[in-house]
Amino acid sequence: MPKQPWYWWVALGWLGILLLLSLSAPFFPLPYQPGQTDVYAIISPPGASPGHELGTDALGRDVLTELLFGARTLLQVSLPATLLLTVVATLLGTSAGYWGNNRWYLPRATGVAALYGLVICLLYLPLTGQEEKVVLPWGLWLLLMPLLKLLVGKTRWGQVRKPAPLDTWILTLAALLSSVPRLILLVGLAAVLPLSPVSAVLVLGLLFWPGMMRLIRAEMRRIRALPYIEAAQALGLTEPQILVRHAAPALKGLVLSSFLLYLALVIALETTLSFLGIGLPAEHASWGHLLAAARLAPEAWWVVLFPGGCLLLTLLSIRVLAGSQKNKAGSHLK
């Protein structure tokens, strides 16, 4: 491991402290709960009233409590969302990059079965809102897919293998998702389904993979053309072996550094949404909620300084780690 500059250690230390504090937040002897308002101490400066070490905001919420539980929100929402996003982007990016448009051969029987599954899903999706149980019959109908594939696979027509344009499909989906700016898409979606911690993870994870997918796809295309992959193919290794044992180690650095970059992005997005009042519900602590309260009392510098400083330090620390990771990956390639 190369020697890291001093600010790398500061960044790592800050993130470590944040992780420890957010994990142990429920065990601290805090006199107030997140979201709890203390009407006797509104906008009280740090240390002025007992129990409020970092003061209170314009709604009487304890700043220290909100800070600690807001850090927990990062751990509960932003981190899982980024993990989900990374998994989706890596899967789609590597498959689009490795198989491209004409290397993934499938028998027609599989296509027929997939088409059948699509029709079943189109029929059952509108039914989900209604009273009756739909999941069981839906699943049973879908279970017929392998049977269909087997039956069609018996015929000569069904055995013909055709390339599936995987690359085009994935790129089209990505273009569809990125045709509207992220924040606008989220604002639009927030009106349809109110965000809870669980749905926020799903929405953030399933909608924002296109950017990272493009990076990984480009890298995978580059790796696929390298001689050692060709050698592995010539040796007769199976595709899972090539992907896992030979391509994945080369992709690891890029995935890690873009994971960190997207973590910073998702944290910024989550706090922005909470700040605008359309993100997580108000009783769920978030640094964005605290910063929104700062607008109500311009003289309360402590309501801005503490959450704003924490947010800034966290984002900068993640950037620093991502930057050093990228440098490492770059030097490794040379």
Binding site: L123, Y124, P126, L127, G129, Q130, E132, K133, V134, P137, L171, T172, A175, L176, S179, V180, P181, R182, L183, I184, L185, V187, G188, L189, A190, A191, V192, L193, A264, A268, T271, T272, F275, L276, G277, I278, G288, L291, A294, R295, P298, E299, W301, V304, G308, L311, L312, L315, L316, I318, R319, G323
Partner: protein, 358 residues
Amino acid sequence: MARRILYGVLRPLFWLWLLVSVIFLLTRLAAPTPTEQLGHPTTASVASPEKLRAAQWALRHRLGLDLPLFYYSVQPHPRYGSWIPSAQWHGSGNQYHQWLRQLAAGSLGNSYRDGRPVTTVLLDTVPNTLLLTLPAAIGTIGFSLWAGLCLTGRRWWQRWVLGLCVGLDAVPLFLVATTLVLVLANPDALNLFPAYGAPEALFETPGLWTRATHYMYYFFLPISSLLVVTVPGFILQLTAALNREVTMQYTITARAKGLSSEQVLRQHLLRNALLPFITLLTDLLPALLAGAVVVEVIFALPGMGRLLAEAAATRDHPILLGGVLLIAMARLLSYWLADGLYGWADPRLRSTSTPAHA
């Protein structure tokens, strides 16, 4: 060539249609309609159930919500339940078809909140947003070009400015805007600028000078917070590209011919360094529009961004759909603009068959 242009125009339009359709269906499927809001306890207590039901039906009919949602609908089979779903075909008498036909005729429906046509509401707010985003866009491009050109060749300055840019690039917009408000528009700190809003009669004051100073007074903070967020990324990209070009052989040739370093920079390096810059440019307009949401909410400017945020909070779906459509179209426009710019900056790209952003 004609085929390429057709491809470049039609494909993004197709995506746009698909996206807006999905959002339309989602909003109509998942969200409570205004008819359910009629059933609130406050209204329910004054009206009898029959009257309430009649009012709900009338409202549904007026908004066209009594039609089936899509071309087909699925019900559970009357005898076998959901084991055999039975699909029904509705033809063109459905909400989606009506909405699409309206859209083709240039109408986006009426706002759920005040019943005004969506197009009017949007047209009222768009100029305010443009007053904010266009100067911000021009400022971003101008400032980052100037800074990039200044920084090449100045090692000492570059180190510090680029470090600052990396730091600023990580800060979310709402934090920048809040800090600016609390430092520069705060009676307890520096009270230089207004914290809230722009007056209605901003452009009715006589005299160009007063109007300009008024505009600066009310829009300085919003525009600078947008600039603080967008400029660092541009400077980083441009200086990286310029630093790469400096090491190229043609630069040495140009210097050896006797050109001044200024001439080499402006006439030889810049054009080659502009390609990645243009790629960033495609994202600038959408990013500014998204940023306008945050900035307009914070500074209480009556623009499209605040309209969208309010529509999201009050579930005013027609407004929301119209806004999303407009912003997606702005993004398309910037794609096409960037395609043209690519051709201008690098003639080799004019004959390629795929658009550069795909």
